[in-house]
């Protein structure tokens, strides 16, 4: 297999030694079918065991290895050497504090995922324990794409609104809330409305659309948020006009 020499420029930061992040160069002989993650693993195994980064599945599903590759939020296991120039810059995800090297602090987004109540809320009793809900394929289709989010947080790294205002709930968490709102089994939409329609919720989004462009799983959080805005506006007018609101 052909080998191509890639100059990796990796952001390093050791909070116990460094005042601020800096870049370290590694020259990596890459096989032609490698992803950037393979190049990082080569650095870790052969060149510098002190480099810190997160990874696990190497198959685009665990969401650990989101990083900035040449300025673009990406999964390193899904970004291939063949599609990149000879010089590749790898940085930790934008808009997050850097814990160490390529590892960012995720506390804020973990709390936001929690905040939107991402679970089935029932007002009526569910079917008996051995009976499932009936859900047509059409009803599943409504929210299926939104279930594909792997929480890699690339969308937060791409979102300037989140960068400017950390109170914004942000793309992945809002999309997750919408996923449950659209699920025919859920009755928690009105519970979530207070959080989502608040000023840190959907209205903080100015539809830059970057989140959807970088999403490695094509979840399209930007679309979800616009749908929620339309939903929210309809709900507002229904209430103003004294019409019955959404039953759930």
């Amino acid at each position: 297999m052909n080998i191509r020499q890639i100059e990796l420029e990796v952001m390093r930061y050791d909070p116990e030694k460094d005042e601020a992040p800096w870049f370290q160069q590694y020259s990596v002989p890459c096989q032609e079918d490698w992803a950037i993650l393979d190049a990082l693993n080569y650095v870790k195994d052969e060149l510098d065991t002190t480099l810190a980064y997160r990874w696990s599945c190497h198959m685009m599903v665990c969401g650990s290895c989101g990083m900035m590759i040449n300025g673009e939020p990406s999964l390193t296991c899904k970004t291939f050497v063949r599609d990149l120039p000879d010089k590749v810059r790898v940085e930790p995800l934008e808009n997050f504090p850097i814990e160490r090297d390529l590892v960012v602090v995720l506390d804020d987004v973990m709390q936001k995922l929690h905040q939107v109540q991402p679970y089935i809320v029932r007002k009526d009793a569910p079917p008996q324990e051995d009976k499932e809900f009936t859900q047509s394929r059409g009803a599943l289709m409504k929210f299926k794409q939104l279930t594909m989010c792997i929480n890699c947080m690339c969308c937060y790294a791409a979102c300037p609104q989140y960068g400017l205002d950390k109170n914004f709930i942000g793309p992945a968490a809002l999309a997750l809330a919408h996923r449950y709102n659209l699920d025919s089994r859920d009755q928690g939409k009105s519970d979530r409305l207070d959080i989502l329609a608040d000023h840190d919720g959907v209205w903080e989004c100015s539809f830059v659309g970057a989140c959807s462009e970088v999403c490695p799983k094509h979840v399209d959080p930007a679309a979800a948020i616009q749908q929620m805005k339309i939903d929210g506006a309809m709900e507002f007018w229904k209430q103003k006009l004294g019409m019955p609101g959404d039953k759930s």
Binding site: D45, T49, V61, P118, Y119, D130
Partner: protein, 586 residues
């Protein structure tokens, strides 16, 4: 060192750990659960499971059939009381997941759809396209967020089990972000740390699957059971080892050699079935052990296809058509396209067997209980003997749920019934000893060995001696090699001396865990002088029920190779018989 007191400590927040945590939170909200995980829960390797979860669903299926498939699939090494409980609880647990919002794929009438799977006599695999494990994991994680009694400790790397008078008392863990050590004490400890595929060079497993829980239990004197049984999944992508789900074959994909011949018919899984009309329990729907062994023979015969990544066979799915492939198998379609550049709609995909699952693990019973009171084990890290000598695809996702829940109940009851530790200071001393050991590793200078170097030697030695086919000479050589590597691993220097997110140190600790687990695999492979399920010996080619209808137990001996002991298999109603994969044609 910080001291955290909980009622139940769960190590591992994948499918099994989360299911157990939810079960305790639901039934015993007054008990505090400390859920420790070395990664954020949604990174756990449950997310990589693709095909689905087995549970009887259709009217023409029965618990009896699921039982028989599982027991014969496991070559009669399953504990049958465990299998009976499993098949009975499976549908209920899968429905529970549906109530929690799992986006299962649906039939026309809106009920959950099921697909055929290898070694199963009926369609009974519930699936969410080809991301079933991913959806199960995220559903469980999201559901767990509503329970305040579950306290999560994400990115805490568990180091060792604390125990006193033979009873589990807690664990010591390292907070990765700060480098601080934590002493968790609890009356019940549940290990749910997943498998150890990373001991092999070529595996579907993620980087995190280093057998940590198995090694912790083993070091604490708990035996590892049936470690010789390592499952090779027959269809991994060459190069990366990425899994192409059995669902590919369940939906009708076929395996051919370099001549385009469906070679499985030559290995007792024929007759050939018509293209696009798979027959249960035959040809491509045979069990994983048989299919992987068939590859080995084809390779020996020179019938495999040479690729840039080594010898392969081809999985042909073109006849399924684009629509079906994109609807039911979108992830594997994308994976094959990205990693080997093959569009399965248009071309056959090269595949080869790849280490996928450990049937063995911490010796546990139907309650998840281990020989050490207070210690429970569930999921891949456990060997509750549901899977015997060969796991059937889609049984393990359900296993996480069924036994996650059951072990949680047992652990909760145990935690309530027991008093707190009599001697807290003894536990503190034990915890401090663990910390001293780790600090010692950091202080070592001028190492002559490297983590990656020892890991590579371990993996290639294990593949050579304890791969798909084994013999005395090979396993013995591997046992010796691993003992040597244990010695040499003490010569590794951790270059990174810092506190914050020290993955160099973590890498060494994981390597130590893997070496312990690898030794058990090799030693048990050496000791079992018969061929059964996934354990195939070239020098003992037949199954020997007289001597080896028994579980192997690997015990740690300080400074020596593991000691192997034997334990009877529980048989309730199915006596060992012939595994028939001719689709009832015989």
């Amino acid at each position: 060192m910080e001291h955290i007191k909980a009622d139940v400590v769960i190590v591992g927040a994948g499918g099994a750990g989360l299911r157990a945590a939810i079960a305790i939170a639901e039934t015993h909200p007054e008990l505090e659960v400390a859920l420790i995980s070395k990664v954020y829960p949604m990174r756990s390797h449950t997310c990589a499971a693709e095909g689905g979860a087995a549970g009887v669903k259709r009217a023409d299926d029965s618990l009896e059939m699921h039982f028989n498939d599982t027991v014969s699939g496991g070559d009669w090494l399953c504990d049958q009381d465990v299998v009976e409980y499993f098949v009975e609880q499976a549908p209920r647990e899968l429905v529970q997941l549906e109530h929690w919002g799992c986006p299962w794929s649906r039939d026309d009438d809106g009920s959950v759809a099921v697909r055929p799977f290898g070694g199963m006599k009926k369609e009974r695999t519930w699936y969410a396209a080809d991301k079933s494990g991913f959806h199960i994991l995220h559903t469980l994680f999201q559901t767990s967020l509503q329970f305040p009694s579950i306290k999560r400790y994400d990115e805490f790397f568990a180091l060792d089990l604390l125990h006193e008078d033979g009873r589990a008392r807690g664990v010591v863990a390292l907070e990765m972000r700060s480098g601080r050590f934590f002493h968790f004490s609890a009356n019940s400890v549940i290990m749910a740390t997943g498998g150890a595929g990373k001991i092999f060079p070529f595996t579907t497993n993620g980087a995190i699957k280093t057998g940590d829980g198995m090694a912790m239990a083993y070091r604490a004197g708990v035996p590892l059971k049936d470690m010789e049984f390592v499952q090779y999944h027959p269809t991994g992508l060459p190069g990366t080892g990425i899994l192409l789900t059995e669902g590919c074959r369940g939906e009708g994909g076929v395996l051919v050699n370099k001549d385009g011949y469906r070679y499985l018919q030559d290995y007792d899984m024929g007759p050939e079935t018509p293209l696009g009309a798979p027959v249960f329990k035959s040809m491509e729907l045979g069990p994983r052990d048989r299919l992987s062994q068939a590859f080995w023979h084809e390779q020996k015969k020179g019938n495999t296809v040479e690729t840039a990544w080594g010898d392969c066979v081809l999985m042909d799915m073109r006849h399924l058509g684009e629509q079906k492939i994109l609807e039911r198998l979108p992830l594997v379609h994308e994976l094959a396209l990205s990693y080997v550049g093959v569009d399965m709609v248009k071309d056959p995909v090269p595949v080869r067997p790849v280490v996928h699952y450990m049937m063995g693990g911490i010796a546990s019973n139907i309650d998840g209980g281990t020989p050490m009171p207070g210690l429970y084990a569930i999921g891949e890290t456990a060997c509750g003997s549901l899977n015997g000598a060969n796991r059937l695809g889609s049984n393990s996702l359900t296993e996480l749920l069924v036994f996650g829940k059951r072990a949680a109940a047992a652990a909760a009851v145990f935690a309530v019934q027991q008093d707190g530790p009599d001697n807290d200071s003894a536990m503190t001393l034990q915890a401090e000893a663990v910390v001293a050991r780790i600090r010692g590793l950091l202080q070592q200078n001028e190492g002559v060995e490297s983590i990656a170097g020892i890991r590579r030697e371990m993996a290639s030695s294990l593949e050579a001696g304890a791969g798909i086919y084994r013999d005395e000479e090979g396993t013995e050589a591997t046992c010796k090699k691993l003992a040597e590597l244990q010695q040499r691993s003490s010569g590794i220097e951790v270059n990174d001396k810092s506190n914050v997110f020290n993955t160099d140190l973590q890498g060494l600790l994981e390597l130590q865990n893997m070496l312990d687990v690898a030794e058990c695999v090799a030693e048990a492979s050496n000791a079992r002088k018969e061929s059964r399920g996934a354990h195939q010996r070239m020098d003992y080619t037949e199954r020997d029920d007289e001597t080896y209808l028994k579980h192997s137990l690997a015990y740690r001996q300080v400074g020596d190779r593991p000691r192997i002991d034997w334990l009877d298999v529980t048989i309730t109603r199915s006596q060992p018989g012939v595994r028939d994969y001719s689709g009832d044609k015989k």
